[in-house]
Amino acid sequence: MAKAKKASRPKAGGGGQRRVLVLAATRKGLFLLRSDGTRRAWRQDGPHFLGCIIHHAVLDPRDRRTVLAAARTGHLGPTVYRSRDLGRTWKESARPPQFPKVPEGQKGRAVNHTFWLTPGHASEPGAWYAGTSPQGLFRSRDGGETWDPVAGFNDNPMWGKWTSDGQDGTPDGPKLHSILVDPRDPAHLYFGLSSGGVFESADAGASWRPLNKGVVADFLPVKDPEYGHDPHCLVQPASRPDRLYQQNHCGFYRIDRPSDRWERVGRNMPKAVGDVGFPVVVHPRDPERIWTVPMDGTTVWPRTSVGGRPAVFESRDGGGRWRRHDRGFPRRQAWWTVKRQAFAADGRDPVGLYLGTTGGEVWASRDEGASWRCVARHLPQVYAVTAAEPA
């Protein structure tokens, strides 16, 4: 079991505004960044689980005290750690996500790593979802202590076709990610498969159907296939759950349900920048406001800041028009990659934005992306950044 960690509190400040907790999950451990009320001063706590690969760490918005972290090491298999006290102490799951054991002689799947964590619906305290590599969906009903496979997906007769038998070439292994729980209905779920596409369930995961019409998959020989796409990240505005945004390997899309056809609103981005990237963030109260971090998707797919000049692009009308934000970022020779989980918003007004780079930096904006400041550097490669206001 992980040893208990001590953490310090930042001093009060900021006129009573809530402090923000940023969880920076890295290739070599978890770091907690705690702000004061103004979000000007940040205190770094960690590393927790030094040497462990932390793919995702998420604060439970239902109690604002519980944190789950998905971990593995280079040698040891995957597990999930839980903290009930904002990262001061940790306890390992008694039964981490794992596929059922198959009979002797059959080839069974094994979880390589848990990649994604999503808290369940507000009406279901203790419910969590986890997405794994290879692509598997798991559910906990006890706050992450034990996890069960969601058979409706993992044992679906189409699983092999949807996931290319869990053998696709995504770096570090194929992923199930971006698990979304409809705030109006705990049984209505979406997720993304890299690769495989976007999928939807209306019955709490008992059955699934692809939702990929209109999305390009230029790495497949078939035009407009039913599945096999490569969504990098999906988000669902809490204030308009029928709207989804998708940063895909092949562009930036949005959809308004009940339509089942995505629209490539990324075409409205500057041609010189393109609409390839990994993360997307939506404003916590305005469903039209979104931010993405374009990456170079030309030629051999460098997946770095376009031209070595990092920028965040924002749309205030759901992707119709885009504006560039780069004040505070390096002006040149900055070859960042920002992974799909490494961009987040807090719930404050104005909204704070946070992004982590594979160069081990965390950058923050207190003004909804207009300007940026580095709040942590010299970290290991940042895999995921989440932000929340703790209790």
Binding site: G77, E92, G108, R109
Partner: protein
Amino acid sequence: MRVRLPSPLDSYTGGLRTVDLPGGDLGAVLAALDARFPGARFRIVDEQGRVRTHINVFVNAERVGDLGHPLAPGDEVMIVAALSGG
């Protein structure tokens, strides 16, 4: 059975490097390991009973991957964290 443990399991074992555990085969010894240090087995053996890619298990000097491998009194089991890259 004498079992030698690698440092990546320190958070489970409290830093113990050698333990004596009962078992007539490798699987039984790993079950005994998990009973004493809950959670340790799953970190070195996956849910299908396969020793994980970057873990090697030796019985005496022989590398063993089959959990059914029989053990005799006096055998020594060595669990090694192999190379896993940067």
